[in-house]
């Protein structure tokens, strides 16, 4: 495990947005780490700050947003000199981001392929554009590489597809084109923001398998943002559960799915029906996420948490390490050695048992 190379690290990131209703503290101290060739997933409800975090990494925050603190460290080996380099993406200026990072080292795939493609440009030109812009290669070279990329993302007959327009393709095909564009400059990190929400199940499965395949071929690191735990189970190595602008639980995929510790993770896992669910009622997390325009006192999840302790309402819990694991961390006072022993809900426990059974 020592050979794992940390490629991207987010340290104590804080982001706020100025709105008419006051300052919204959307991100309140997020820590993330991404290693080369690995996949991490960020899960959480809408409004928990998943997308904002990744937008900050790409340097495409909305105009009223500002980074109030923290670091986003990106490490890479320089192609020419071979020396190790590190930059803090929070501090660099816009032109450096555009020239060096965005699209070239970190690429992004958005939710809706129709709105992220230019309807007036052929898909061929859209794939060639970033290569010509970033690397200044000739049109012929770019064309050759674009055809290769289309082939890589599983589009048949690539040369005939080059001069077509986005509207001539189905949703799944368009999303493949978007990936081809993202891969055009051989990035090291790919961020997929709800990449399959607009696709239906059969195409979703194909899309995820395609990304896994490319990842293996190119040793790419991928960040998935999603609220679909089925997708997470399929692709991720590490999972970060996010709530109200903070990571509340982080760990390997096995730790999060088979040994969840945070009540919010319990809720997320319980709320999703699997094919064996036949209870009369699905579990729901009561209440709604907090309004981050107001200051959050104590644990943000406490008002919705049936296991909340007194201290949860007053003091924000730090990240506790789970015993016997280097990767599993939980932000909940329930993990404090002096906290009362609280077990996860019976139904969930039963389900996890069944899952472990099925995995054997």
């Amino acid at each position: 495990m020592d050979t794992r190379k940390k490629i991207l690290e987010v340290k104590d990131l804080k982001i706020s947005f100025k709105t008419d209703g006051g300052t919204v503290k959307a991100i309140r101290g997020v820590n993330l780490a991404l290693h080369q060739g690995e996949t991490i997933a960020i899960v959480g409800e809408s409004g928990s700050g998943k997308s904002v975090t990744t937008k900050a990494i790409m340097g495409i925050l909305a105009g009223n947003g500002s980074i109030d603190g923290g670091q986003i460290l990106y490490r890479w080996t320089d192609e020419n000199s071979g020396e190790e380099k590190e930059v803090d993406l929070v501090k660099v200026d816009e032109s450096f981001m555009q020239k060096e990072i965005r699209g070239r080292k970190i690429a992004m795939v958005f939710q809706d392929p129709m709105t992220s493609l230019n309807p007036t440009m052929t898909i061929g030109n859209q794939i060639m554009e970033p290569m010509i812009h970033h690397y200044g290669i000739s049109k012929d070279e770019a064309y050759k590489k674009a055809v290769e990329l289309l082939d890589l993302v599983g589009i048949t007959d690539p040369e005939r597809r080059m001069p077509t327009y986005p509207h001539q393709h189905s949703g799944g095909m368009r999303q493949r084109v978007v990936i081809a564009i993202a891969l055009a400059c051989d990035p090291y990190v790919m961020i997929c923001d709800e990449p399959t929400t607009a696709l239906d199940v059969t195409i979703q499965a194909k899309f995820l398998e395609l990304v896994q395949d490319i990842q293996k071929k190119k040793n790419l690191s991928v960040i998935y943002i999603t609220h679909d735990l089925g997708v997470v189970a399929k692709v991720a190595d590490y999972v970060n559960v996010m709530y109200a602008g903070k990571i509340v639980e982080t760990g390997t995929i096995d730790e999060i799915f088979y040994d969840p510790r945070h009540p919010y993770t319990w809720g997320l896992l319980s709320a999703m029906p699997d094919l064996d669910t036949d209870d009369d009622e699905l579990y729901t997390i009561p209440g709604t996420p907090p309004n981050l325009a107001h200051e959050v006192k104590g644990d943000a999840f406490a008002p919705r948490n049936q296991f909340a302790l007194n201290i949860d309402l007053r003091v924000e819990p730090p990240m506790f390490d789970v015993e016997g694991s280097e990767t599993h961390k939980v932000a909940s006072w329930l993990m404090h050695p002096k906290a009362p022993k609280i077990e996860m809900p019976k139904e969930l426990k039963h389900r996890l048992e069944k899952m472990k059974e099925a995995a054997k």
Binding site: E45, S46, S170, G171, D200, V201, T202, I203, Q204, A205, K206, L208, E209, H227, D228, L229, G230, V231, V232, A233, K234, A236, I253, D254, F257, G267, L268, L269, A271, M272, P273, D274, L275, T277, D278, D280, E281, L282, Y283, T284, I285, T288, M355, A358, A359
Partner: protein
């Protein structure tokens, strides 16, 4: 089955003429029926004709051919103004995007009460508002919300307003077109619970259109699988999930991601290629599998798949 079905769809066809030489056969001869108080799930990929079916049934489109019988009355041919009016009160629809289907310039009380206004179903304003308040409470919103506007609500709450609007006419059938697809997992569960609860209380039948199979299995009594405008397989949810016959159904089922990483990591989804398998839906006939389980196939295909 002594009960009469509330809705019978027989050989429904819905074509869209794109140009003189090209017609899209969005729905091409499907038949199914829904019992009172039952939930019927329609599943299929995008473009399979699920939504078109729902929209044809509620007469947002005029069906090209086929017969739809609702409450014993034919609603597929030419209809008088009165019968359309009656249809509109007894059948209601819940849409996918709760932001797009609520008028942003109207207060919630007027959105929910609009059906009552149109059909003059009250004698005084107090009576109307009281009915709206009851509906709000039924869907788990408090009556103070009545004077607010749609943008002041979260996605889940907006979908509740959409449900309240559909329920206020006391319908016999609700068509829920991807009603939960746009919502978060935990909110999805809330809305599904609400729909189940209301169904129990009011005995309304639901046509549930979705592409999320695990949700459909959970909520539906019976399921129809649509592909390219054909109903390729139909049966109770247990029959379909325990014993899928049609390769398209199998591919759909295999594509569902399981929230179980150790299983999921090693699983490969099963792809279905209609052309490669040489399946022509138009020549197939409905084959009986068991009880209520039917599959669309030719005799040879049926034999091959059931082996």
């Amino acid at each position: 089955m002594a009960q009469e079905p509330i809705l019978v769809v027989k050989d429904l066809k819905q074509y869209f003429k794109v140009s003189r030489s090209f017609t899209v056969k969005a729905v091409d001869g499907i038949s199914f029926d829904i019992m009172p108080g039952e939930t019927y799930g329609l599943v299929g990929e995008s473009g399979s004709g699920k939504s078109t079916t729902g929209r044809s049934i509620i007469r947002l489109y005029k069906p090209t051919a086929g017969q739809i019988t609702f409450n014993g009355k034919d609603i597929s041919g030419k209809m008088s103004k009165e019968s359309i009016k009656e249809l509109r009160t007894h059948m209601q629809m819940i849409f996918q995007d709760p932001m797009a289907c609520l008028n942003p310039r109207k207060k919630v009380v007027d959105i929910i009460g609009e059906g009552l206004d149109i059909h003059h179903a009250y004698s005084s304003m107090e009576e109307r508002n009281e009915k709206v308040y009851q509906m709000l409470e039924l869907v788990g919103l408090s009556r103070e919300f009545a004077t607010r506007y749609p943008h002041q609500f979260s996605g889940g709450q907006r979908q509740r307003i959409g449900i309240a609007r559909a329920l206020i006419m006391n319908p016999d059938l609700i068509i829920a077109d991807e009603a939960i697809s746009a919502l978060d997992v935990s909110i999805q569960a809330q809305v599904v619970n609400l729909m189940k609860k209301i169904q129990k209380e009011m005995g309304v039948a639901i046509l549930f259109i979705a592409h999320d199979l695990s949700m459909v299995k959970y909520i539906s009594d019976r399921i129809g699988v649509l592909h390219l405008g054909h109903l390729v397989e139909a049966g109770t949810s247990d029959e379909i999930f325990a014993n899928p016959i049609h390769p398209y159904t199998k591919s759909l089922l295999s594509a569902i991601p399981h929230p179980n990483p150790r299983v999921e990591k090693t699983r490969k989804s099963f792809t279905y290629d209609k052309k490669a398998e040489g399946i022509d839906y138009t020549v197939g006939t409905q084959h009986f599998v068991s009880d209520t389980h039917y599959v669309l196939a030719t005799d040879e295909e049926f034999e091959k798949w059931t082996k």
